[in-house]
């Protein structure tokens, strides 16, 4: 029998607090009968309805995964057009370009296949067995004018992966750029490993969520302007 350790939280950035704007990040953690889904989304600050857009991303990924699963489909690429269509309908009647948001998701099926997808910035760390990896390396994209659900130019904008995990332990950490881009680069792996370790020590999801909330709330103030969202997961 599988044992899942999940913790998640999100806090509003200092700049949004100061200007009375909502938290534009969203997240979703959902345990289906056929697997577990994690989603985080960062609404683009310059878009009028970006908070709604990021909520819609979470809803749309959830619906898309359910439909995709109904067709017993295991090609993750077929999920993406479905997701974009659902998101477009979900944000309607708002124009898509007022609802821009990133999309990071992880789905671990009961068949022990791990599916990962990322559009835009933020980070997905994953570990199958022992090795820690990052789905999308930012490379030299300091000029990263984030690609969002509204501004995708080609299928290549998505980073996608599928892994057969078998019975190996699976660990995941999804974070928006308010977390990912403010971590000391050379210590990111260490941060993620320590997070997993501490989450595993907690007794229940409330304790884990509180721990993540405190972590995000106590972020170094010089880098706390942006909204911050983090989801940690382990399947033992």
């Amino acid at each position: 029998m599988k044992h899942e350790v999940i913790g998640y939280s999100s806090v509003r950035g200092a700049l949004h607090e100061k200007s009375g704007l909502p938290n534009q990040d969203s997240y979703l953690v959902k345990q289906f009968q056929f697997g577990t889904l994690l989603v985080v989304s960062d609404g683009m600050g310059s878009h009028l309805h970006s908070d709604f857009g990021s909520h819609s991303v979470c809803r749309s990924v959830s619906r898309a995964v359910q439909l995709w699963q109904e067709y017993h489909c295991d090609d993750i690429r077929l999920l993406i057009p479905l997701l974009h269509s659902l998101w477009g309908m979900d944000v309607f009647p708002y124009p898509k370009n007022e609802c821009g948001a990133t999309c990071l998701f992880a789905f671990l099926s009961n068949e022990n296949v791990l599916y990962l997808g990322q559009l835009g910035d933020g980070s997905i760390f994953y570990s199958i067995g022992d090795e820690l990896a990052l789905l999308k390396n930012k490379g030299d994209e300091f000029a990263n004018l984030t690609t969002g659900m509204d501004s995708i130019k080609s299928f290549g904008d998505w980073s996608l992966a599928a892994f057969c995990a078998g019975n190996k332990p699976v660990k995941l950490c999804l974070m928006t750029d308010g977390v990912a881009e403010t971590l000391v680069e050379s210590r990111r792996d260490e941060f993620v490993k320590l997070l997993w370790k501490r989450l595993a020590e907690k007794n229940n999801v409330c304790e884990r969520n509180n721990m993540i909330y405190r972590l995000l709330k106590d972020w170094n103030p010089v880098n706390a302007g942006d909204d911050r969202t983090l989801v940690g997961y382990e399947r033992k």
Binding site: S46, E141, A143, L145, V184, E185, F191, R198, N220
Partner: protein, 228 residues
């Protein structure tokens, strides 16, 4: 067991860098009509405006590359608050092509501009035309390859002798226009515009975002209060 502050060292202690690179013409012609004096006072005013701003989301860092017969880094890339500005002196030819190479190398250097820096602002100011060899190739390299191709690029033409077609090629967006000033006394307006845009970016939630409505704005007649 969890220690209260064990996560403290994982977050960067400094805000992310927002680089501003000024590529300034210091050829002999800049010594006429008080152009050099105006340029010096405009740059000084820009630096003071950056120094006054409270750092919120980004740390504005400035470098100045000058080009006359000699191309040099007049000011190394550093936080605006740490710069002690010394006036530039005009003399010689307009070796702008070499300046493109110097700025290109600076932007490519990940030890100077880290990966997590915000999109740099690059400003090119000239009252003439490049007259070194292969400048066109160097301009093309700067605008189409590497990290410099992704920068937020602006240009200012001073007087009728400025090569506005070349300055237009320098821009990063087809809707942007070269800012043209006939009178040296208006140079400071352009620099106030760049300062305001940069400060606005440094205080926004997404400092990578450049407001597109500014591309075609009447830069010399902007009420800067409305940008804040």
């Amino acid at each position: 067991m969890e220690n209260k502050n064990e996560f403290d060292g994982f977050v960067m202690p400094q805000p992310r860098m927002l680089p501003v690179i000024l590529m300034l013409d210091v050829s002999g012609s800049m010594s006429y009509d008080a152009k050099m004096d105006e340029l010096n006072s405009s740059v000084r005013e820009m630096l003071e405006s950056f120094q006054k701003e409270q750092i919120v989301q980004a740390d504005i860092c400035v470098s100045i590359v000058t080009f006359g017969s000699e191309v040099k880094v007049h000011t190394e890339l550093m936080p605006a608050r740490d710069i002690h500005y010394t006036d530039m002196i005009a003399s010689g030819m307009t070796y702008m092509g070499r300046a493109f190479d110097v700025a290109y190398d600076m932007i490519e250097d990940r030890t100077k501009i880290p990966k997590n820096a915000y999109r740099p602002v690059v400003v090119l100011v000239s009252d003439g035309a490049p007259n070194d060899d292969h400048w066109e190739d160097k301009l093309t390299k700067f605008t189409t390859t590497g990290r410099s191709s992704k920068c937020d690029r602006w240009s200012l033409a001073i007087g009728a002798d400025a090569d506005t077609a070349m300055l237009k090629r320098f821009l990063d967006h087809p809707e942007k226009e070269v800012c043209y000033v006939e009178d040296a006394a208006d140079i400071h307006k352009f620099f106030r515009f760049i300062s305001s845009c940069t400060i606005q970016r440094s205080q926004s939630k997404n400092p990578n975002q450049v407001a597109q409505d500014l591309f075609t704005a009447d830069i010399l007649n902007i009420n800067f209060d409305s940008l804040r």
